[in-house]
């Protein structure tokens, strides 16, 4: 994993000291709220429905055990004993006191964490494939590129006041596990015929009120020109992106309005110019970063044998464990979606337990997935049973990965000031209805995603089944969408028709799954059946 050098540390420490001064001046009344608000937001501190909320960045979703432990300690020391892992691979604390915020940032800085790039119209924290460095299908580990991107984008003066927020995701496999094409810029690390590493660029994706799938804007940019190309793509957006209307300010609108051909042409022109300026970081820097990710300490020659005699364990292995690139290892996904639970929430105790397991069994590494789960990327198969037992004892062994109860849900009206409707109680009701694991497995892969308003933080457009909370004359109402997807075959969901009450939408989902079970052919997933038979039979069942 990446380790800060003195420059990284100095920047983060200076930021903590600066914010400490700003908070002191706010508390003494020297700064008004109007003056202070942009400063606190730049440090991840929002004011939400019940209190201040602190959003901590987890760069490209990777953590070591010391960092994870501090995340747990913060939940105990400064919050109410839990944290919420988000679709942006970050963690949010819901009950922060203003005076504590500088101390929290100082605690974070000690383990090379911070809340920079978690708010505002800058380049936000980069997200990445949560199986990076462990997946058998990647052409390279995308994280060194993500780290280079972090260094380039942090406090980048030219891009600190973009027309709107800017989100970049990076992957290195054909299987997209990061919803890459639903970001402002998506990068896929690829290999060309000559075996050279490069970047395939996508631009103009996003969710929110006008969801769009990013089109490809460059098939192959040499890896050592990645930053120059990003600089060009951002510069064109910064120049022409709309600042007159917040709802039309994202890059997706620009790409849509001028067309992908014209946007790409301008980027190429700017790119050619930037290449003459020598802005690209020296190759040695990328090599230095790569060196830190190269070898997490995997052993070779280990056995792939597994004792599956405990049926509960075997079930969990089948559902939550993935193939590792190295023989004898496995990738474990810890579900933060117990039946009746709050998607993405973990207690301080659970967070520290996961930290301990990472230290003892996963070469000190963890990942946060955009599906709001935690990954132990490098577990020896020989240790799997012990890891499972420890997780099970802490309520962390729900075997439901990618099943209907593995719900993505934004905080919704229980916590979020922008919400129209609650998403969390609805998630709880759906998991209660489909609690039976046999039934869930019968339904197979089914990604259900809930947002409490049109901002789409819960990715509802990309759910096989999506739910959008709306306000109907002061009463919570839920629209149902079908057919979204976020992987290699990204698509946007379609609204079924009139919305439902909370209980009504749970019934409607059940009817939708009944149609699927009745109509599926062979090994079709829900999404495949939907794509084959279309909306009509589902609509008929729901409203008929």
């Amino acid at each position: 994993m990446y380790q800060y050098d003195q420059h990284d540390q100095a920047m983060v420490d200076a930021r903590v000291a600066e914010f400490r001064g700003q908070v002191a001046r706010r508390l003494s009344g020297e700064l008004t709220e109007d003056q202070f608000k942009p400063l606190r937001l730049k440090n991840g501190l929002y004011l939400q429905l019940h209190a201040y909320m602190l959003r901590v960045a987890v760069p490209y979703g990777t953590l070591n055990s010391a960092q994870m432990r501090v995340l747990g300690d913060i939940a105990d020391k400064y919050d109410r004993g839990y944290g919420h892992f988000t679709t942006r691979q970050n963690i949010q604390y819901n009950w922060i006191k203003l005076a504590d915020a500088p101390d929290i940032l100082a605690d974070l800085a000690k383990v090379q964490l911070h809340a920079i790039q978690t708010s505002g119209n800058c380049i936000r924290n980069t997200t990445a494939d949560h199986f990076a460095g462990a997946a058998a299908d990647e052409v390279a580990d995308p994280r060194p590129y993500a780290e280079l991107l972090r260094q380039w984008s942090t406090f980048h003066p030219e891009f600190d006041y973009l027309p709107r927020k800017f989100k970049v995701a990076i992957i290195a496999s054909e299987t997209d596990r990061a919803a890459m094409r639903l970001h402002d810029i998506g990068i896929q690390i690829v290999k060309n015929e000559a075996g050279e590493i490069g970047c395939k660029f996508f631009a103009g994706g996003g969710m929110g009120r006008t969801p769009m799938i990013a089109p490809c804007i460059a098939e192959f940019v040499p890896a050592l020109q990645m930053i120059s190309f990003l600089e060009a793509a951002l510069r064109v957006y910064n120049r022409h992106g709309r600042r007159d209307n917040k709802y039309k300010a994202r890059i997706k609108i620009l790409v849509h309005e001028i067309g992908v051909a014209e946007y790409s042409r301008q980027v190429q022109e700017e790119f050619a110019h930037i290449l003459t300026l020598g802005l690209e970081p020296p190759p040695a820097e990328l090599e230095r970063i790569k060196g830190m990710f190269a070898d997490p300490g995997l052993e070779s020659g280990l056995s792939d044998d597994l004792d599956r005699s405990d049926p509960d364990f075997a079930l969990w292995v089948d559902q939550n464990v993935h193939t590792h690139k190295q023989a004898g290892y496995a990738i474990v996904t810890i579900s933060l979606k117990p039946v009746g639970g709050i998607p993405g929430d973990a207690t301080a105790y659970q967070i520290r337990l996961m930290a301990d397991l990472a230290r003892d069994y996963s070469l000190d590494e963890l990942r946060v997935s955009h599906a709001q789960n935690i990954v132990l990327p490098h577990v020896k198969k020989a240790d799997l049973y012990r890891v499972w037992q420890a997780l099970d004892a802490a309520g962390l062994a729900t075997p439901n990965l990618d099943l209907i109860t593995d719900i993505i849900a934004c905080p919704g009206l229980d916590y979020c000031a922008l919400a129209n409707a609650r998403s969390l109680p609805l998630a709880q009701k759906i998991t209660d209805r489909f609690a039976d694991i046999g039934r869930q497995r019968e339904l197979g892969e089914l990604k259900l995603k809930i947002s409490g308003c049109i901002n789409a933080c819960g990715h509802h457009h990309a759910g096989h089944i999506g739910i959008l909370g709306v306000d109907r004359k002061g009463v919570e109402n839920y629209q149902l969408l079908l057919g979204g997807a976020e992987s290699a075959d990204t698509s946007l969901g379609t609204i079924t028709g009139p919305g439902f009450s909370e209980d009504g939408v749970v019934d409607a989902i059940e009817k939708v799954t009944d149609v699927y079970l009745a109509r599926r052919e062979g090994a079709e997933r829900f999404l495949d059946t939907y794509r084959r038979i279309g909306m009509a039979p589902f609509k008929e069942a729901i409203y008929g």
Binding site: E33, N94, K97, I342, Y415
Partner: protein, 102 residues
């Protein structure tokens, strides 16, 4: 008898707690909120100047039998706490507290 009123809410600058204007100061309990009229802007300006509350604004509510119920669900959830964590709400001992919101 129920009466449509306007009340003032905000957040405690230090703790972030949701608070309600009581006529004399600020309370965490919405039932202590008092109706304001044309004096609302003056109260907000005066209280903001003290730099101890933030995000002050006027909302609609209904007063009945000594209780105050904000008109909009968002404000009712603000007044109670997260409905999925009633243990952390202002009424941790009341398992039915969540239904007050709806």
């Amino acid at each position: 008898m129920s009466e449509k009123i306007k009340i003032i809410t905000g957040n405690d600058l230090r703790t972030g707690d949701v608070i309600w204007w009581t006529g004399e100061g600020w309370s965490r309990h919405v039932d202590n909120a008092v109706a304001v009229t044309h004096d609302a802007d003056a109260i907000i300006a005066r209280e903001n100047a003290k730099q101890v509350v933030t995000d002050t604004h006027v909302i609609d509510a209904v007063a009945a039998d000594g209780a105050v119920r904000p008109a909009h669900i968002k404000d009712r959830i603000r007044a109670l706490g997260p409905t999925v964590r009633l243990d952390l709400s202002l009424k941790p001992a009341d398992p039915q507290a969540g239904s007050w919101v709806i």
